[in-house]
Symmetry: C2
Subunit: 176 residues, 2 copies
Amino acid sequence: MALPSTYADRNCSLARSLEVVGERWTLMIVRDAFFGVRRFGDFAAQLGIPRAVLTSRLKSLVQEGVMIREEDGGVVEYRLTEKGVALWPIVRALMGWGDAFYSPAGEKRTTRHDEDGGRLDPDGRCEECGALVPVPEIRIEPGPGYEPQPGGPDPVSAAFATPRRLLEPVMRQPAG
Amino acid sequence: MALPSTYADRNCSLARSLEVVGERWTLMIVRDAFFGVRRFGDFAAQLGIPRAVLTSRLKSLVQEGVMIREEDGGVVEYRLTEKGVALWPIVRALMGWGDAFYSPAGEKRTTRHDEDGGRLDPDGRCEECGALVPVPEIRIEPGPGYEPQPGGPDPVSAAFATPRRLLEPVMRQPAG
DNA sequence: GAAAGTAGTTCATTCATTGAACTAGCTCAC
DNA sequence: GTGAGCTAGTTCAATGAATGAACTACTTTC
């Protein structure tokens, strides 16, 4: 999205949000970032997104302060900022709606409070302890609607199929 | 969005949702529908969207069961179905994020429980009575961040600036 | 029956996306 | 250091979608 420059609507925060995260691919990139993807090549491979588009999207996400680009000794990483992490309710709501109407076998991913294993309700509250669970304490794991991938599972996809905390980096080679 | 046909990701309900509501303009149309817009011409005028695009979006929303097209005595109306109303948490989350990061003067629109006037918290719960307020009982009104429109306010924009219940149809001529 | 309104189409132009190939810089082994 | 291999990011031709303005077809109203 975002063409002539934006949506015209000055009085709607929905329009304003969509100007930042409403373009094709953008929320998929953000989702991957929640799932621990940080490297350019991993985003590209995982999403099947053209590299030129990925470059453009990451650039605008960084410019908007949703992600930050960190270069450390030749290694480039993209991470969500606080503003980016604040997108979680949006991502959760979209996953919830898709689960409800397009996943008859049940939710594709289950979220839990990693501390006590309690499931999270639609508002992100732990059904065990009642707390509103902060993003880094959310564990995500395959749910009843999850369909194991056919074909060779690359390391990143494999990590996606394993219970893990949000934001925890995907490891691309076994730590040595 | 949604080009070659879709996103490839079979295991993510976020991708699935974006295939339905992720294209440019789609969520703006849905928002207008929550605000009571039902007529083709009102969507077109309110959003400044090219009519050809509007036709295409409405067609796919109807096909997906998010909206329904009703023709009654020459009058055509588009309305949200239950599945469409279930998009409210997504719309709310997007408005919330935009308010938080792009509306320094405060939220652009306030939502209340129409029965008792209580404000709704981010989860959509009434701060007066504690109930999770169903969409038709939500009243929306200009908030502290709302900026009155310059220029001639057409009837639809005027309705948007007045406290009203969600889904309640926008009247285009005073009932006679 | 003429005027005005509405839903929707058509079409040339502009712009974004696609996908594949390419560049440039770094790391590591020898 | 030289070469192999990896990674971030660019380039570019082809495709497809968005834009905007004009137009069609149908209704209602007076």
